[in-house]
Symmetry: C2
Subunit: 346 residues, 2 copies
């Protein structure tokens, strides 16, 4: 490897400006008082030499990397959903001169914690100050992270199999109230036979189901859960569910999908069978993905502000870094039902 050209150092700047190295440092950190003339002379020397302070050296002393890691776990790819969270993290972070490192991890929920092979960032220390966990989170990963004493905040909607005794910082959105409001909206539009389509073995879909059930119960309506066998994907789940919905007697007038992908699958399959949305059946989704607007008609769905999730994660992580012994907190961000074109008045 060829030698990297040496960069200007603080000592050379000090020489050039005929001051001591301490003064340069003081100017850089705009901290304690430096006389107007000295400061000007130093700044001029910095400009002239094109000096940019070395980040690593500062960090050793500061004991802060000013960097956090966004760790995406067990996702085959960086979905727009998580991409938006990442963006929320980044935009908030960069305003505070914090950097965001991106890393991915694949692990099995059954691997013992100490056998989980963490990404390189987490193997050295001092590289990052903390961690934002996104993607599916099983208890063994939490154990592993705790074992290296790395402060972290988890995006909690995809946390699986955690007991109530678990204590860690988390940010999530309100699954329950999301479907509660969506379902109430359908009921308000005169719908009585409303089904819910999702695989409720996922904790977050289970919570959404509970929100739907709550709305049905408070209106003394019967709840119906539609599932399908061996789906290849959520879209496929939706497609396979369509037939089951249509075969019910009496035929449901509306369906609440566990997420937008299921809603898409449903819509596509219904349309193929000549069933029109919303004329023949109303449909609502959850998540408000990009594709929701592109559906025809555009999908009424529960909006989740993904960037706000990211921003809140970052905010909470910084608080944790500043106050390591602060008690753990959990933030649930509200969701919003967005009315588009897939619900009709009965």
């Amino acid at each position: 490897m060829e030698a990297v050209p040496r960069k200007t150092t603080i000592r050379e700047v000090a020489q050039a400006a005929s001051v001591g190295i301490g003064t340069i440092s003081r100017v850089l950190n705009s901290s304690s008082q430096v006389s107007r003339e000295t400061r000007a002379r130093v700044l001029e020397a910095i400009r002239r030499l094109g000096f940019r302070p070395n980040a690593q050296a500062r960090r050793i002393l500061k004991r802060r990397a000013e960097m956090v890691c966004f760790l995406l776990s067990n996702r085959d790819f960086l979905h727009p959903f998580h991409a938006r969270i990442l963006q929320g993290v980044e935009s908030y972070a960069s305003g505070l001169k914090q950097h965001v490192l991106f890393a991915a991890l694949h692990y099995s929920p059954r691997t013992p914690p100490d056998r989980i092979d963490l990404p390189p960032v987490l193997q050295e220390h001092g590289l990052i100050d903390g961690l934002i966990l996104a993607g599916t989170i099983y208890p063994n990963l939490l154990r592993r992270i705790e074992s290296i004493n790395m402060p972290f905040v988890a995006f909690s909607n995809n946390v699986v199999g955690m007991g109530d005794e678990e204590q860690f910082d988390q940010v999530g959105f309100d699954d329950f109230n999301g479907t509660l409001h969506a379902t109430r909206h359908l009921i308000g539009k005169g719908h009585r036979h409303i089904v819910f389509a999702a695989d409720v073995s996922y904790p977050w879909l289970r919570r959404r189901f509970e929100g739907y059930r709550q709305a049905m119960r408070e209106n003394k309506l019967k709840h119906v859960l539609i599932t399908s066998r061996n789906p290849q994907s959520f879209v496929d789940f939706g497609q396979k569910s369509a037939g089951r919905i249509l075969s019910r007697q009496p035929r449901p007038t509306a369906a609440v999908a566990g997420n937008d992908e299921i809603a898409y699958g449903l819509w596509r399959s219904l349309r193929r069978q000549g069933v029109k949305v919303p004329d023949d059946i109303s449909l609502v989704g959850f998540d408000d993905r990009e594709e929701a607007v592109l559906m025809d008609p555009p999908l009424s769905t529960v909006r989740v502000d993904k960037e706000e999730i990211g921003e809140t994660c970052m905010k909470m992580l910084l608080e944790r870094l500043h106050h390591p012994r602060m008690t753990f907190s959990q933030r649930i961000l509200p969701t919003e039902f967005v009315i588009r074109g897939t619900v009709r008045q009965l």
Copy 2:
């Protein structure tokens, strides 16, 4: 801010193992020969003290951050397309113990280079070794990057307004041959009246248009470019183009869309007007986005391997870092036409 607990240092480990600090370093870097017994004693001490070497300190000496920045410029959000490139970068990088920092930047093509406000990562030095530029790249940004002497590789398909004299490392995919093959495929299926829909003021769409034109020319067919006024987005562009396509005499039997979003808009608008794809008109896209498979019927399109782009960018950047004076190179990755359901045999 509370004090961060001091971590174990190499000197403490040396003390514990009753060896010198140099020996610890040698063990850590598994470099020169250390006797079997000494190595075992050191490793035992490291384990017992839970020692993890400080990354920053090493980097000062090594003059390498082992970190690169993925800079997304002028994108309102991290599209799946770029997300996949990022993933390609990350997965290749992490295998080589390199880290990937994510940053975003918004700038105007008209801002003078020295006025472009770079993200914090690029303001200090030593934090990253190099840069991968994704998103729209105008000459002023290149000038700015060059001014801080930061090695970089650009994803070249979105480079705008660059003369031929521009020299920098770039990785892109083959716009021209993509549409060339797609159009040839349509011609092979018996189509003669084929239009191309896109705003060719984008250089990459212009290249795709040229590929289409080449295929038409070599078959002595007339090329037709469809554009539309003041589109809100690519999808909108597609929607607005549908009418223009249908009003042509004789009516085209196939359309090549500049990208999948335009294809989606076209498809949606055509369907609304009762025109069936592919029965009444065949359609091909470009990019092979996630949505392409979800369209009904799924879209025949030109696949671009985004992760390979990311991987190649990272590979090229590492080469550049190892050989700073190497001549600049440009890699064009091949594309592949994917046959799905939107083209019919005439």
